[in-house]
């Protein structure tokens, strides 16, 4: 077989064709596959694409784009740092301390004796752990002071 005959034979292979309608079916198959792939994509990829599209639409220079991406990265890292488990534990401890201190302080203020009023109603005068006094010593009704002014001279249990 000569080279010309071989070339001619090979050229005839162009007449080999897929079944009729094959290319219509191929288009549909590719489309459905694209949709399936889009649904399977992870969220972070979609987020990155949206950011890229956003900057693409606003025609930023590559330097600005790099700066913006670096900014996002820094914000992300700071966010991750704030949300780390060690910090969360520390925050929880701090809030628990505050929560326990507030009722104690409130109790302390409420338990102030009339004859031992401090200059400021919020200044600590007694150790923690005092209870609500039912009646003042010496038979006097308790007096509660707001802004260094007598709030009431009524008996505490007269409704």
């Amino acid at each position: 077989m000569t080279d010309e005959q071989l070339t001619a034979l090979l050229r005839l292979k162009r007449y080999e064709e897929p079944p009729p309608g094959y290319f219509d079916g191929l288009l549909k198959n590719v489309q459905s596959r694209q949709r399936a792939e889009l649904l399977r994509r992870p969220l972070w990829k979609i987020a990155i694409e949206r950011v890229q599209t956003f900057f693409g639409e606003h025609s930023m220079s590559s330097l600005s784009y790099a700066g913006a991406m670096a900014g996002f990265l820094v914000i992300g890292l700071v966010g991750i740092g704030l949300m780390s488990p060690g910090d969360l534990e520390r925050k929880n401890n701090a809030s628990m301390t505050l929560a326990s201190a507030v009722p104690a302080a409130a109790g302390k203020i409420l338990s102030l004796q009339p004859n031992r009023l401090p200059a400021s109603p919020f200044a600590p005068t007694q150790p923690l752990g005092n209870t609500w006094p039912v009646s003042a010593p010496g038979g006097h009704a308790p007096r509660y002071v707001i802004d260094a002014r007598p709030a009431s001279y009524e008996l505490s249990r007269s409704y």
Binding site: M1, L26, N29, T53
Partner: protein, 200 residues
Amino acid sequence: MQDATSRQQDDELIARTQAGDPAAFDELIVKYSPRLYGLVYHMTSNHEDANDLMQDIWSKAFRSITGFRGKSSFYTWMHSIGVNMTINFLKKRGRRFHLSLDDVDSNIQNDKEFIELTAASSPVRETDLNELQVRLNESMQKLSHDHRAVVTMFDIQGMPHAEIAKILGTSEGTVRSRLFYAHRQLQNFLTEFHDTPRHD
């Protein structure tokens, strides 16, 4: 290979696809699938494999099109993806394959080369068309993947050496050399065929 109007149309369709218009990509699929199918089918000699690969190739192209910068034509870019994916597939498939041939278009009967080849003085006159197709595809499968790719693009699809070199990322000299050796091998296989009758 491609005229300026066609290239301009492609550029518009690519820009629309990159902007998120899937209908534009569908137009590219419709436009380039027949030639791409020819490339994949003639390299695999199996319609089912070619069909699976076509879907893989277009999916890959869709995922990668945002990175297409137009340094080469879309046609060249698609063929590069097609050749690379087909060669990877053939390496994995190894020798496990069977021929699954497409139908031959009846227009072949009017082809000048076909008439000459099946004329009384031709060495293929005794061979019916289907047998010739089987034998030729079997011979093609005996070539290395790189040689088969070059024969498919040059002899069957009629692409110039320069275009093939771009697609394969090699020099034109390499393309010519591969063609030369591929032709020698095919001539040997087909000469054996004419000398030895088939018994299957």
